[in-house]
């Protein structure tokens, strides 16, 4: 059993490589992951007269969040239309292997792309008092957001635009309830209670800590919450994809 799982994980590396070559080498991913959050943040900072360096942890969070969740919801309907999903299914890989490869690719690209907003933050004079914690948050957060994207990609739609719409409907509200623009400590109790349903909240809290602003929640609670979200997203995504994937073929 252990060997079987390891065998499938090794096979999933092929899918990781494929996703990076096909999907993540394209300009729009960088646009969605870096440029778009940066523009949104700058306009938000100017509009509310907030210090840009105070918003930087949130910018890193949004950048990682959008990069990691950009491709998976589009990739499944796209691969169905191109019949390449059929190709993968007829290869000796399990459905969870395909999902794992997809998730790894998204997470890996999220980790790499996070370097850009971190550099921007450094450029604006942000000092990361705990760079190791920042790096750990980026890794754990990327995996969590990539797994969430797998969940968004569950509906067996035929055209990528349908999941894109669903993806936007889920991601944008999360953006505004996660304390990205306003620290958790400044949110009203009701808004703060709502923010706990978003994994982005915990990532941003860690990022604020790493940037020297202090965290609202204990760090271990932030990490545990992200790991719990990842576990639930993964289990539900695999279960649902096993049900919906045959409907795509």
């Amino acid at each position: 059993m252990k060997n079987r799982i390891l065998d499938q994980i090794i096979r999933s590396m092929a899918l990781l490589k494929k996703d990076v070559m096909i999907y993540y080498s394209k300009g729009p991913v960088v646009l969605m992951g870096v440029l778009w959050p940066a523009i949104m943040f700058i306009s938000f900072a100017l509009g509310r007269g907030m210090a840009i360096e105070a918003l930087m942890p949130g910018l890193i969070g949004v950048s990682v969040f959008f990069t990691c969740s950009a491709i998976s919801p589009v990739a499944f309907p796209w691969e169905t239309a191109q019949r390449t999903l059929e190709r993968l299914i007829s290869a000796p890989v399990a459905i969870w292997t395909i999902l794992f490869g997809d998730m790894l690719a998204s997470a890996m690209v999220g980790i790499v792309v996070s370097i850009v907003p971190i550099m921007i933050a450094l450029g604006f004079g942000v000092t990361f008092t705990n760079p190791l914690m920042m790096a750990l948050a980026v890794i754990v957060g990327s995996v969590c957001f990539a797994t969430m994207a797998l969940l968004i990609s569950v509906p067996p739609v035929s055209a990528p635009q349908y999941t894109q719409m669903l993806s936007t409907l889920i991601k944008f509200p999360l953006l505004f309830i996660s304390g990205v623009f306003i620290p958790l400590s400044s949110l009203s109790p009701a808004a703060r209670a709502i923010s706990y349903i978003s994994p982005l909240t915990y990532f941003t809290d860690i990022a604020r800590y790493a940037a020297g602003h202090g965290s609202y929640l204990p760090l271990y609670a932030d990490f545990l919450a992200i790991l719990a979200f990842t576990f639930v997203f993964w289990v539900v995504a695999v279960k649902l994809h096993n049900k919906t994937l045959p409907l795509r073929l």
């Binding site: 499938q8 390449t84 190709r87 000796p92 890989v93 045959p246």
Partner: protein, 370 residues
């Protein structure tokens, strides 16, 4: 894995396999076996359930009931997929990757060591004439090249069994012949092939045995030659009169089982010619013609504007194919018939049924029984 895959047992075992889509039963309790090293043909008209069956055997879809095993493992299991290669009817390679990248991806999915994969890919690309374009994106490939790339992808893992779904459809004569030749070469290596095709001459040439499907059911299973002989008690007499006569008159001659008019014969000949031109099956007739399908064929004078059957009455003709089980009696009756009607026979030939004739007879017979 080796315990099940080695030995001389069947490569494929199918027992009561059934697939339903809502109320439609696409595959209806079929059972058969394919032996290791066999080139097995899986034939049938459009909608017979061939592709659904191949998709169940390769694990793309699951069956509603019944059992299928490939190389001793349940169809669709990781083990059976590891030992199988699949050439689908429609291209499913990654268009944004080069041929080489596509092959390396497949090799990685099958866990072929990188050095081994490179050697195999290089050899196969050379064999299939794709070596010079191996670094071109698959989207830049012609249809023939894509088909060849699919074949290389299916063979790179050195599978024990290869599923081929219409591997030569849409190809020109040279490419189709080239692929058939290669497949026969690979058969010598002991691989098992499971082929679906509309091309009867291809099936007769390549297959050790064929199964004929019709409306989801298996209607015959034997060697192409045996199937031809089974239906061989029926002879075909081609006759060409100097004047047109109604088809019904010929049906009245004693010993005539069936009459095909010149229209049917010509259509069959066109189809045969098109299959030879591009490996097209009856369902794809006209698709590959410039000028757009049926309209293109009409412009080329290959089809009448309106089928004669559409008017409810067949027009008289002078060229017919008569089916009979008593050749001598019918020949004598034809001589009497032409004398009585003051007709001259320009052509009179007796032919045994071809494998294609046997296929048509078997599927028509099954339709009548249903």
């Amino acid at each position: 894995m080796d315990n099940a895959s080695t030995g001389s047992g069947p490569a494929i075992e199918v027992r009561g396999l059934t697939k339903k889509y809502g109320k439609l039963t696409a595959v209806d309790g079929i059972s058969f076996e394919v032996m290791k090293g066999e080139f097995f043909g899986f034939l049938g008209p459009n909608g017979a359930g061939k592709t659904t069956s191949i998709r169940m055997l390769t694990g793309i879809i699951s069956a509603n009931s019944g059992e299928a095993r490939v190389m001793g493992y349940p169809a669709g299991s990781i083990e059976s997929k590891q030992l199988s290669g699949v050439v689908p009817e429609q291209s499913n390679v990654y268009m944004d990757l080069t041929a080489w990248q596509n092959l390396m991806l497949t090799a990685d999915l099958y866990r072929i060591a990188s050095s081994e994969a490179k050697v195999r890919a290089q050899r196969l690309l050379l064999q299939l004439g794709l070596d010079e374009r191996k670094h071109s994106h698959a989207r830049e490939y012609s249809m023939g090249m894509k088909k060849r790339l699919l074949l290389v992808s299916a063979l790179i893992s050195d599978p024990e069994i290869v599923f081929l779904d219409e591997p030569t459809s849409g190809l020109d004569v040279q490419s189709a012949r080239f692929i058939r030749g290669l497949l026969l070469d690979f058969k010598k290596e002991g691989k098992t092939f499971f082929l679906t095709t509309h091309n009867m001459s291809e099936a007769a040439e390549m297959c050790d045995r064929v199964a004929i499907m019709n409306r989801g059911r298996l209607v015959a299973l034997d060697t192409p030659e045996n199937l031809r002989i089974t239906t061989g008690k029926v002879s075909l007499i081609d006759v060409n009169f100097d004047k047109s006569i109604p088809e019904e008159t010929l049906k009245a001659i004693p010993g005539v089982l069936r009459v095909e008019s010149s229209q049917a014969i010509e259509t069959a000949e066109i189809m045969k010619a098109m299959v030879a031109m591009g490996g097209m099956g009856p369902g794809k007739m006209g698709q590959g013609m410039k000028g757009g399908g049926r309209a293109g064929m009409q412009r080329a004078g290959m089809l009448q504007t309106q089928p004669p059957e559409a008017s409810g009455k067949k027009p008289p003709g002078n060229r017919f194919r008569l089916h009979t089980e008593n050749t001598g009696e019918l020949l004598a009756a034809l001589v009497d018939f032409s004398r009585a009607h003051l007709l001259k026979m320009n052509v009179l030939s007796v032919n045994p049924p071809s494998f294609e004739d046997a296929f048509v007879m078997l599927t028509e017979e099954a339709n009548r029984e249903k």
